[in-house]
């Protein structure tokens, strides 16, 4: 009887936590409009999660693009199809690698920082202090961080993709002597703005929401001790990465399933 009861307790705890997270998101979202007169808060958070993540995004984007160029060339050259290298690099970056890898890096670089920051505020009772001063912590602390993530990640993913395409160009045209004109023209005739670019942007908006949601919730819901904060930070990175990869499959099958 006991293992079954354990399992039931575990499942109930999970479901309760999911419900708490959903209510938390709802509570934050209905407060987002209150940020309008206080855009300074939002700017500050976009700096923290966006600008400070820029370096890792740009460097990884460049290398991912360069590796794609190298691997794609070696595969395509066997079929004499190295002219479509540009299309291969651009399609894989805009559809998948740009949004997903940028979201994973974002979860590791910005999401963990968000959780640690909010968790520490809770552990040191700053959140309670703010509430005592009749300032709503959801409006003042959580809402700008959530919104900043939703705004920053699509921009980061776009930068990742653009730098990646340039990296693929660098290797394909500069190193492996694919013709420059063919590289771009094959890419332009094969790519579609709505199918490829716009769907990639939609993906990264969804990932931005989910990663920042998980990050702020884990911080807000953590056990208020130093150990609790460290566990919450770990959980943020693990859960956000899993959520991004799982959601990516669902979004991909919705967007490209029937084509």
């Amino acid at each position: 009887m006991n293992p079954v009861r354990q399992l039931g307790r575990w499942a109930l705890a999970r479901i309760a936590r999911l419900g708490r997270a959903s209510l938390f998101l709802y509570q934050v979202l209905i407060r987002v409009w209150r940020l309008l007169p206080r855009l300074g808060l939002l700017i500050q958070q976009i700096y923290a999660v966006g600008v400070l993540t820029l370096l890792i995004i740009l460097v990884s984007g460049l290398f991912v693009g360069m590796v794609l160029g190298l691997q794609g060339y070696n595969t395509l050259v066997d079929f004499g199809a190295e002219s479509v290298l540009g299309l291969l690099v651009a399609k894989s970056l805009t559809r998948e690698l740009g949004p997903v890898v940028a979201a994973l890096l974002f979860a590791g670089r910005a999401g963990s920082a968000l959780t640690a920051e909010i968790g520490l505020m809770k552990a040191t009772e700053q959140l309670a202090g703010i509430e005592m001063m009749a300032v709503d912590p959801l409006t003042r602390i959580v809402a700008p961080r959530l919104l900043a993530g939703i705004i920053a990640l699509p921009l980061l993913a776009a930068l990742f993709t653009a730098v990646g395409v340039l990296g693929g160009h660098l290797v394909g045209v500069g190193l492996l002597a694919v013709d420059d004109g063919v590289f771009w023209s094959q890419m332009q005739s094969g790519m579609d703005f709505y199918d490829d670019v716009l769907n990639g942007v939609i993906k990264s908006v969804v990932f931005g929401l989910v990663v920042s949601w998980i990050a702020v919730f884990e911080g807000y819901d953590c056990v208020a001790t130093s150990e609790g904060v460290s566990r919450a930070t770990t959980r943020t990175v693990v859960n956000a990465s899993l959520a991004v990869l799982g959601l990516d499959f669902i979004l991909t099958s919705l967007m490209f399933g029937e084509a």
Partner: protein, 154 residues
């Protein structure tokens, strides 16, 4: 205050860079400016067999892309009806323009090639192309050659 200003500056730079990257993806990578088929006119063409022709396949005239395939259906007599959306820039195509489905390269995708005729009137939204040539289906071609050989007694 000075710190807040540099911070705002950086966020501004970040936003501009992100939007620049997006517009590069839109215009340089996906060539959005050239694919303005949404403001084109639609012409129907009936084929016996369209082979592997797909939605959004290019329509070319003299090798220049002038539109895209926007719809593929079947009519009551089991002909494939392909709707060609041609960019409004190329409005002066003669009424007896013919359409054929060709393949780019040996294994490439299929596209619709238009061949202008000599009519004085022009195609307009809703017209139908009268002269069409179906796609070449490789398997049929091979079986025709094989049967031909068998009949001629090797």
């Amino acid at each position: 205050m000075a710190k807040q200003t540099t911070l705002e500056l950086w966020v501004g730079v970040f936003g501009v860079a992100g939007l620049l990257a997006l517009s590069m993806l839109a215009f340089k990578v996906a060539n959005l400016s050239a694919s303005d088929v949404r403001q084109g006119y639609r012409v129907a063409a009936r084929f016996d067999n369209i082979g592997q022709l797909k939605l959004r396949a290019p329509i070319t005239l003299a090798g220049v892309r002038i539109g895209r395939v926007s719809d593929i259906t079947i009519d009551d007599d089991f002909y494939a009806v392909v709707t060609l959306t041609i960019s409004g820039k190329y409005a002066k195509l003669p009424l007896d323009t013919s359409a054929s489905i060709l393949t780019s390269g040996l294994l490439g995708e299929q596209y619709v090639a238009l061949e202008p005729g000599g009519d004085d009137e022009y195609l307009k939204d809703g017209s139908e192309l009268q002269i069409t040539q179906s796609a070449l289906v490789l398997e049929k071609l091979i079986s025709q050659v094989l049967y031909g050989k068998a009949e001629s007694g090797n």
